[in-house]
């Protein structure tokens, strides 16, 4: 029970990869560039400024990068600069620990075209632009738990 004026805490569970220690989050992407909502596995990356759909997910979702505008600013990744595409006005849906859906909007995220080569990870990146929408990101390696809280 909450005291007066105190909002109930919302927690979204993140999955910790036991081998690497990386934290992943299940999300649903909603955009008018796709016919229906699509699931994404997001690697929480505090070193990434912008949430990014990586090349493997771009192919899986069937996003046509030729129809997406290119970001004016090149993106620096390990190995050099790449020209990412932009997907504008997107929503991410998350499922909290009570089973309710939580939504966040972003004006734009980046998309890496599969044509640019490189590895094909089966996940995408949750950058600080999305992460900072939450109050806290708690990682408890001792108990193998991680949460986003708001």
């Amino acid at each position: 029970m909450c005291s007066r004026g105190e909002a109930a805490q919302v927690k979204i569970r993140s999955y910790i990869d036991r081998d690497s220690g990386h934290c992943y989050l299940e999300a649903i992407l909603v955009t008018d560039k796709l016919p229906k909502p699509e699931r994404l596995l997001l690697l929480i990356d505090t070193g990434a400024g912008t949430t990014t759909i990586l090349d493997g997910d771009c192919a899986r979702l069937g996003l046509d990068c030729k129809r997406l505008p290119k970001n004016r600013t090149p993106t620096m990744v390990v190995g050099g600069l790449i020209d990412a595409h932009m997907l504008t006005d997107v929503a991410f849906l998350f499922r909290d620990t009570d089973g309710n859906l939580q939504a966040e909007f972003l004006k734009a995220i980046e998309v890496i075209d599969p044509a640019q080569g490189g590895p094909r990870p089966s996940f995408s990146i949750m950058g600080v632009d999305l992460l900072r929408r939450f109050k806290r990101f708690v990682v408890d390696y001792e108990n193998d738990e991680a949460f986003l809280e708001r």
Binding site: G56, R95, L101, I125
Partner: protein
């Protein structure tokens, strides 16, 4: 806010179902990882309803094959199975 995005309770339930389907597929893949690595080493496996429906060494080729066979692949979870640890430097 969620209703504003989804438009109807039915579509909201569709999203919940999608979360549940992928969570179950991922959980199944993790609990059967040793067996999957043995059968499909260094491959991408496509899991639907807790069952491997296709596998391939190439993710892009797998996606093309899945689309050809199933059309809608939104409830299919793709996992990379390998016993070679891959370090990420992002």
């Amino acid at each position: 806010m969620v209703m504003a995005i989804m438009g109807s309770p039915d579509r909201t339930q569709e999203i919940v179902d999608l979360f549940v389907a992928h969570a179950e597929n991922s959980k199944w893949a993790k609990s059967n990882l040793v067996e999957l690595i043995g059968k499909f080493p260094d491959s991408y496996v496509a899991v639907r309803s807790k069952e491997v429906v296709m596998h391939d060494k190439s993710l892009l080729r797998l996606i093309k094959r899945l689309r050809t066979r199933f059309g809608d692949i939104s409830d299919i979870t793709i996992e990379h199975v390998t016993n070679k640890p891959i370090k990420l430097l992002l």
